[in-house]
Symmetry: D2
Subunit: 318 residues, 4 copies
């Protein structure tokens, strides 16, 4: 894995090559579409593409539109899973969500009706992530959301991470399909508590605003098995990071995860804002933004850029 | 259709034969189950079976537990459809609900996701009936529910028909699957207005309390194409009654409608309370109650009794 | 039902009015498509429309392209069902096929996999009709097909009915989906015997060539409960005719049966050749051909013409 | 990855520990079921459990019933995929099969009907593997099967690998569901050629008889990116091995692949005979047999043994 013995040499080489690769991928963005089902998201710049790569010493390389802020959306689901595991343990979590990819769209409800016992197939599809939101400890939605935000801040080393209230509001107002899913899960006996409150936590963690460097730093903690290599602080037990990375391989890129595993071969999670968080185990954390999406909901230019990186530098796990 | 030239002779003959048939059917109730998903419904007497048959002159025959009061549940959907047709016309209604049986359970959401344009297949499954509730005219849920109740009163000739508030409350508290469906329909752009308000109207018309004689009288109006033959008052345009009767044949008995058409051959609508409303066109209105249900949700003894009647008296339309 | 006291007067009136109605419906055929999945069928004239209506005295009226010969295709399924019932009785038949409409396309396999015990939902969808073909008595496919043809000849009073070998050959060569279905049914334990032989019988009865007058005469037997009113010969027990007519209402027009019941209200069966067989109980047998199909597989101009007839003459059963 | 710096030390330690672990896992076999849908398979000993682990120097450790011969069944699909890739290249193969896990049973046909363009989701489910069989070069089924066998022999270094004709015969006689699938694929335009011939190749490669040591040696070639480390001969291009290993992670253990990735974390492929082929990249090839299956079709004791090994020795890729 990787053509370079150490990350320093590789990052040096990337400083020169990355901008060209980024330009080549950026041209694909005209073939994608910025998400519009959450109205606030549709304001994102279609042509933007930015990437930030950081290693354990804190050295980094970046290219493109890294100054762009965006909401984490589904990327947050990796970290709420970690928090729910830390709050509840493996058994309690996997009593309520499964471990299998679905082959269906991330917001499909088919398997909830067709496959008994009617629990979500995995924690990274919407139904699963809503159940995970219900498992975060706290006395009410405010405390749960606040704990989540603090956890994200500690992982990113960025104390200024905040909710984007306009996106939160916009998502909350247009989230009838998520509401439908939550009530279905409640009827199935999977979701406990007040549906409105659970969804409120869910909408809030999806609306955490970040930049590429924040995602890269969060990913770096995963690349180093739960310990921030820059501070040396252990933030997540290694086993939970292993679980999260495995889900990122099998289910992280919606129902294009199989193809991404073959073409890129790295644990990754995408969001409808066009963000992708990925990592090279033991080497790098990577954050990327490219708002134009392909038909399966992943950044069209972002996926292309990651394919280039993985193939040129031999990064695939497989 | 029918072995008797006139209804008077037939009713006379029934006075003797009906009690025996009813007893034979009643014994089947031990093999059924009283609905329990709405807690309040589970209090109904499992062994009960009652039937009331009325003709155009107001002559009637009844047998069994006709003094039992029960909520109309899905039976009400035939009449809210009529009201929605009278309020909106055919075109507006059938822009939002289809005309086809589904082959699925009455509360299935599969086809809403799988079959474009994502409108309910027909107005008698839950999804369709919720849309129909949204189409009833009125300035708010109270007025819509009140208009519905008044319509039911005029059809039954019983001004004392009322909502059963305990059942309404019980259904409202346990209706997460209906909530899920309503939000899905809203997301699909089929349901307009406030979901809570629409469901409130829906739960209320399901909770109208009636007895067999009330259902029989409402059915009699359908048997006479919209005109109450006892008062001579036209209550519903004939075309809308034709539409309703056709749906009762193709979709009235949940996903056992096909079998009921073959074994009984009459327009009918059942409810989870165990009620069945059916009719012999141009002859009778019939109301029946038998709370023990078969696996598809129809009164187990009630269906058997109607099979006996139809076969002995040659009542099938076909 | 019907605006006319006797069929003679009605037929007289139709002689004048029918040609105009037919012309109006015929213009719709440009919006439909001739079936092409069986290559031989694609040769049919897109603009053609013909209808033949016959009463119990043998009086008839016809209009349009009644000289056109076409294959019965799915229309044959009504009569193989009758033959299988006569050969095996109700119980043996309904152990292997259900009585419910599906809401799915006629060649869908979804419910065979999703709904236990994996028997076809009804005898008029392809899966069901294949099972019915396997139940026709006879020592081998030749004898079974021959018995079927003789039965069709007796019902139509036309001893010259024959298989259209070119269509049979064409269908047999392109029937991979039907083969898939048959093997699935065999795996489910529903279909017995050799798949190739069963399908051979199926393809042959679908390929029986007829004209509108033949269909009308076959329908007339159903309109008179199994007795040919012209010869007085009883050909099918009344109960089996009742079963067949009920299926024609609930499932006869593919997954547009519900709409046809509401807009026309008569028992009917369509075929992909563009034929429709329908009847007015106690009055008429009707045969129709119009090869241009609507998206659900029914003759686009034919359905329109039947709507006109039913509405103008008040023919609906409901 | 792995607690040991070199494989020699790890294998030495395993000689002592493996038999105990195997005994502990073996006791689970009473809770599983030997596959019976292919009658010949049902003769396998339910209690058996054997494992063979080999490293690049040819050193190996084995335990349990390694003398048992069994058919490769679905394990063969990894290698027919490799052969099809070598025969046709990536593009031609992935025009006809996708790259995504399905979440459905390995023999489900739902997505072939529901998801356009109706190609199998991946090459390791039955539908996909049948398409792959059709892509193996050769002038007819005999040559295709022979080429496949020769390829398996070269990978295993065992020139005596043979088809088990009794299993082949048994499978061929009971494979109606696979026939159904093949005809569906032909109708969808995905499968070319004669269905009987394609399935003949498929049944034959499923019936190749092997022992644990054979699987281990084949897996070793994958663990070393296509080059047999013992002979130094390159047998498969590295990119194709990468593709195969990725599919083994996302789809190799039927619809329990997600859970296996989380609990074991190694590329693996199971078969209904109870065999599992897995590997530790750059270290070991592993072959395992345990005929008693869990409800998802994987060796119940075998999966448990691999979990123990992975957790005790820290083998997960993630």
């Amino acid at each position: 894995m990787s053509n370079y013995a150490n990350t320093k040499d590789e990052l040096d080489s990337l400083k020169e090559r990355l901008p060209k690769w980024l330009e080549a991928s950026k041209s694909l963005s005209t073939g994608g579409k910025v998400a519009s089902y959450i109205p606030e998201l549709s304001k994102a710049p279609q042509q933007a593409l930015g990437i930030h790569i950081i290693d354990a010493s804190g050295d980094s390389v970046s290219a493109g539109d890294c100054g762009l802020s965006f909401t984490m959306q589904s990327i947050s689901k990796v970290f709420t899973l970690l928090l729910a595991l830390m709050d509840n343990g493996e058994k309690a979590v996997f009593d309520k969500v499964g471990m299998e990819p679905t082959g269906d769209s991330f917001n499909s409800m088919l398997k909830l009706e067709l496959v008994q016992p009617g629990i979500p197939f995995n924690p990274l599809i919407n139904a699963g992530a809503i159940v995970i939101s219900s498992l975060i400890a706290g006395s009410g939605p405010d405390e749960k959301a606040e704990r989540t935000l603090q956890f994200f801040r500690s992982l990113s080393g960025n104390e200024r991470l905040q909710f984007d209230l306009a996106v939160y509001q916009s998502e909350s107002e247009t989230a009838d399909l998520n509401r439908s899913m939550a009530y279905f899960l409640k009827d199935n006996g999977v979701l406990e508590g007040n549906v409105h409150d659970v969804l409120d936590v869910y909408f809030r963690h999806c609306s955490v605003q970040a930049q590429c460097a924040d995602l890269a730093r969060m990913a770096l903690v995963l690349a180093y098995d739960g310990t921030d290599p820059i501070t040396g602080v252990n933030l997540v037990p290694r086993r939970y990071v292993q679980i999260a990375k495995t889900f990122m391989v099998t289910c992280g890129m919606y129902n294009a995860s199989g193809e991404f595993a073959i073409e890129v071969g790295l644990p990754a999670k995408s969001g409808v804002s066009g963000g992708i968080l990925t990592l090279v185990p033991g080497r790098y954390g990577i954050g990327l933004i490219g708002p134009a999406l392909n038909p399966k909901g992943n950044s069209i230019s972002g996926v292309h850029l990651l394919e280039t990186l993985s193939k040129e530098l031999d990064w695939s796990l497989f």
